[in-house]
């Protein structure tokens, strides 16, 4: 328990530092939100007035303290441009992105874990070489390029999957409870919505996952190869244990930890990369929201997005640590 408490405090500290850095960076980046808010031909007087209304005339330290004080009360502030509480904006934008990342992560795990394990088992065979080739191609393809090609071929030419959007046109006014349309479809018993949302997720999720899958595959393969070379595998083989038993019962659980750590981090990275596919597939999401906030110099919204992505990153890692801890009882003693 002590270990997890320590981790928790560490996470909070990282978040604080992250907030501080983002806040400072957003001030250093040139651009004056008051000019944007004032509109065309506003005049210096009006810009000045808005600057003071927005609190931008206060010293930076004071701005940061005010921000922290509100943050401690769970208030992320108001966006200067949507005029809505940023928390509400994020509650709308985060679910579509998380949904995308979760599906991309599932694709990633479903490909890289079994393929990595098998490719390690049949190390240096033709099978292994072709897997490595796949990984190399996957790692080399830029996300936006894959997304465009898949969209044009599978969505446009072959019309097998939708070109863009989160749901088909007939569901344009659909409102769920959670904003996760897959989940909302299930909660409301609307299987049509569930499958429609899933259809719209396949191409973007696959495009997003490809690069990460390639990395996950390589890491898993390497970890498993070194596991296959350990003495206990030799012992098991001499004891005539079946090969599947060796692979799944012994090698896999022992070799999984390094991959799991990477997958945990990948979750956060993916969330940061969603903007590439969101723009192409016309999906709402935190990536597009962040880009808009940056181009408008909406400082508080930018800081909030970084904070939220940071929290998701830390949570994903916390979950992985917990899994590792549960997977490996020895850890409890080691710590």
């Amino acid at each position: 328990m002590h270990y997890f408490f320590q981790r928790f405090v560490f996470s909070l500290l990282s978040l604080f530092i992250l907030t501080l850095i983002t806040f400072l960076l957003s001030q250093v980046v040139p651009g004056d939100p008051a000019i944007v808010a004032a509109g065309p031909n506003a005049g210096a007087e009006k810009i000045e007035l808005l600057r003071s209304e927005m609190g931008l005339d206060k010293p930076l330290t004071q701005q940061f303290l005010i921000y922290l004080e509100k943050l401690a009360q769970g208030d992320l502030g108001k966006s200067w441009f949507t005029h809505q509480p940023i928390l509400e904006d994020l509650i709308r934008e985060l679910p579509p992105s998380l949904e995308l990342v979760i599906i991309a992560m599932i694709i990633n795990l479903m490909i890289s874990l079994p393929l990595g394990l098998c490719s390690a088992r049949y190390n240096d065979t033709k099978f292994d070489s072709s897997v490595r080739l796949f990984a190399m191609i996957g790692a080399g393809l830029p996300i936006f390029w894959t997304a465009l090609i898949l969209q044009n071929v599978i969505g446009g030419e072959l019309q097998l999957l939708p070109i863009a959007g989160r749901l088909s046109f007939e569901y344009r006014t659909f409102e769920g409870y959670t904003g996760f349309f897959l989940l909302d479809g299930l909660i409301l018993g609307r299987l049509d919505v569930f499958f429609d949302a899933l259809k719209h997720l396949i191409l973007p999720a696959f495009s997003l996952s490809l690069l990460f899958t390639a990395v996950g595959l390589r890491i898993t393969r390497t970890a498993m190869i070194s596991e296959f070379q350990k003495d206990y595998v030799l012992l098991a083989r001499t004891k005539a244990a079946s090969e599947p038993r060796i692979m799944f019962k012994h090698v896999f659980p022992n070799g999984a930890p390094p991959s799991l750590t990477v997958f945990g981090m990948q979750f956060g990275w993916m969330l940061g990369a969603t903007v590439l596919v969101e723009e192409i597939y016309g999906r709402p999401g935190i990536g597009r929201y962040a880009v808009k906030a940056v181009t408008q110099s909406d400082i508080h919204a930018v800081v909030a997005v970084v904070l939220v992505v940071g929290i998701v990153f830390l949570l994903a890692n916390l979950v992985v640590d917990l899994l590792l801890y549960l997977l490996n009882p020895r850890g409890r003693v080691d710590k």
């Binding site: 040139p30 651009g31 004056d32 939100p33 000019i35 944007v36 808010a37 004032a38 509109g39 065309p40 031909n41 506003a42 005049g43 210096a44 007087e45 009006k46 810009i47 007035l49 808005l50 209304e53 009360q73 769970g74 208030d75 108001k78 441009f81 949507t82 005029h83 809505q84 509480p85 928390l87 509400e88 509650i91 709308r92 934008e93 465009l148 969209q151 969505g155 446009g156 019309q159 070109i163 863009a164 959007g165 989160r166 046109f169 344009r172 006014t173 409102e175 904003g179 192409i280 597939y281 016309g282 999906r283 709402p284 999401g285 597009r288 929201y289 940056v294 181009t295 408008q296 110099s297």
Partner: protein, 518 residues
């Protein structure tokens, strides 16, 4: 706990739909789907200077007067007629007595006064172009008097962007932000369409308002849908698959290829949005010298730009005003002439100097123009450093003379079709960058100011035309800008779309209230 309360309220807000449910109107049918690359910031009429916001509001709200799509003169909308006092300081409007807002309340002069009071209290961007507007008061239920601090010729035109809100609907939500938070996600208009879904990063739907005072004669759609699609190739794919009817943001090459394709149409609107290279005329450096600017003024090939970058979609610029506008004066800017420029460089020993241009690299047209200028200047031995920026960053640099670069690229988006909206914005010293305006050439000439001010205060169109022509000649003689282009507003659409017309007074919007889909 606060977070949970907020979460709960956010969920409620999300699940409540925005306006009255749509009831089918007999002769109004079908759906028009429009793709748009920018997401709207909010729905607030205070922010209607922003075209992505304005394109939603233009059929949701009415103004006292309006420019119909395709027209350059103003027509009555909520006002029936008006009188101007002899001194030009008082405008008295008679307004319609048969107008219902979407919430069912009737419009009276109290709504008009409330609208203007709120905009003033909220320091609304949309008031920036209202000149010396001072106040509005209700004379009786259907008469409104507006007072100006000085005479302002284009006042009636400027009112076309002032959308009247329902006082009954907005007043309870004024809170401490003058209703900005509420109007950002709710609408309170009297226009032909009401907002039914507002998911600002995904989709916005508008439905025909059955009780619209203007009636529903002619062909209209029952529903208008805006889909937010950033990627040009995605817009194209959706246009081709029939999932959107209008795709304004596809690439110029794709627009060209659609011109001859079956089932599609490409409309080229005569836009009036000049793109400039603005030279920092107040600089202590070389660009502060008019003879140096005379050399620069001859180093950009507008024809090449029009033919290759715009693929012919646009008007060859002849000074900042569109050539067919009132008061246009021809030949005020020097033509492209590298030999003449070279001679000036040689005479003055300017070779070896370095200049800096700031621009928005996200806009392809600006990128291409910068590259041409860079290449031409390098032939003259002048190095042009290009610094790409975001809009807020570039705008911040011109707030101070010391940080204004030698050259800035900027579009002028006039908010109504009047020479004032272009010339005063770009060349009056009241509007220099350091005064918070869009005259990023920091150009200041008291005689030009006097001409522009006199033209703005006059209501006599002939007098105004003469004054503007004179102002353009004086400006031209000091070479503060190169007008790079007058790009056309090129919109690709399905040939099922009937009735689309470009609206010069509402650039980058669609007259969806007059469009039908076969």
């Amino acid at each position: 706990m606060k977070i949970f309360n907020l979460l709960a309220s956010a969920f409620t807000a999300l699940s409540v739909s925005l306006a009255i449910p749509f009831t089918a109107t007999a002769d109004v049918a079908g759906t028009l789907i429009i793709a748009e690359n920018e997401t709207p910031e909010n729905l607030d009429p205070a922010n209607a200077t922003n075209s992505t916001v304005n394109q939603l509001l233009v059929g949701v709200y009415d103004a006292l007067v309006q420019f119909k799509a395709g027209e350059t003169s103003v027509s009555p909308q909520l006002a029936t007629d008006w009188q101007v006092s002899d001194d030009g300081l008082q405008y008295t409007f008679n307004i319609r007595n048969d107008v219902k807002f979407h919430d069912g309340s009737s419009m009276t002069s109290a709504d008009v006064v409330f609208t203007l009071d709120r905009l003033q209290a909220a320091s609304a961007a949309v008031l920036n172009d209202m000149g010396p507007f001072k106040s509005a008061e209700a004379i009786d239920d259907y008469t409104v008097k507006m007072t100006l601090e000085a005479p302002f010729g284009p006042f009636i035109s400027a009112l076309s962007r002032i959308y009247i809100v329902s006082k009954a609907q907005v007043e309870p939500h004024m809170s401490d932000d003058n209703g900005r938070g509420w109007l950002a996600v709710n609408a309170a208009g009297s226009g032909p369409y009401s907002v039914t879904t507002y998911k600002p990063t995904e989709v916005v739907t508008l439905n025909a308002f059955e009780g619209y005072w203007g009636g529903w004669d002619g062909d209209h759609v029952a529903e208008v849908v805006f889909r937010y699609i950033a990627e040009p190739s995605t817009q194209l794919a959706l246009l081709k698959s029939g999932e959107v009817h209008i795709a304004p943001d596809i690439t110029v090459q794709d627009k060209l290829s659609l011109m001859n394709a079956d089932g599609f149409r490409v409309d080229i609107g005569a836009a009036a949005t000049p793109l400039y290279f603005q030279f920092n005329t107040s600089s202590d450096g070389l660009v502060g010298d008019a003879s140096f600017r005379k050399m620069l003024a001859q180093t950009f090939d507008r024809k090449l730009h029009l033919d290759y970058v715009l693929q012919g979609f646009g008007t060859m610029p002849d000074g900042p005003l569109p050539p067919d506008w009132m008061g246009h004066s021809t030949g005020t800017e020097l033509p492209f002439n590298m030999a003449a420029a070279k001679e000036l460089v040689d005479q003055n020993g300017w070779a070896g100097s370095t200049l800096k241009v700031r621009y928005l690299p996200a806009i392809e047209e600006e990128q291409a123009a910068v590259e041409q200028l860079q290449s031409n200047l390098s032939q003259l031995g002048i190095k042009l450093e290009a610094e790409g920026m975001t809009w807020p960053a570039q705008a911040a640099t011109v707030q101070d003379l010391a940080t204004t670069s030698d050259i800035n690229m900027i579009y002028n988006f006039p908010s109504f079709p009047d020479p004032h909206a272009i010339l005063n914005t770009s060349f009056n010293s009241q509007n220099t960058g350091y005064n918070g305006g869009y005259n990023w050439a920091q150009y200041s000439n008291s005689e030009v100011d006097a001409l522009l001010n006199q033209a703005a205060s006059s209501a006599d169109q002939n007098e105004r035309a003469t004054l503007y022509a004179k102002a353009q000649q004086m400006i031209g003689a000091e070479y503060p800008v190169i007008t790079v282009s007058l790009p056309g507003s090129v919109v690709a659409m399905s040939s099922a779309v009937k009735g689309y017309r470009y609206s010069v007074a509402h650039h980058q919007t669609f007259n969806y209230m007059d469009i039908s889909v076969d």
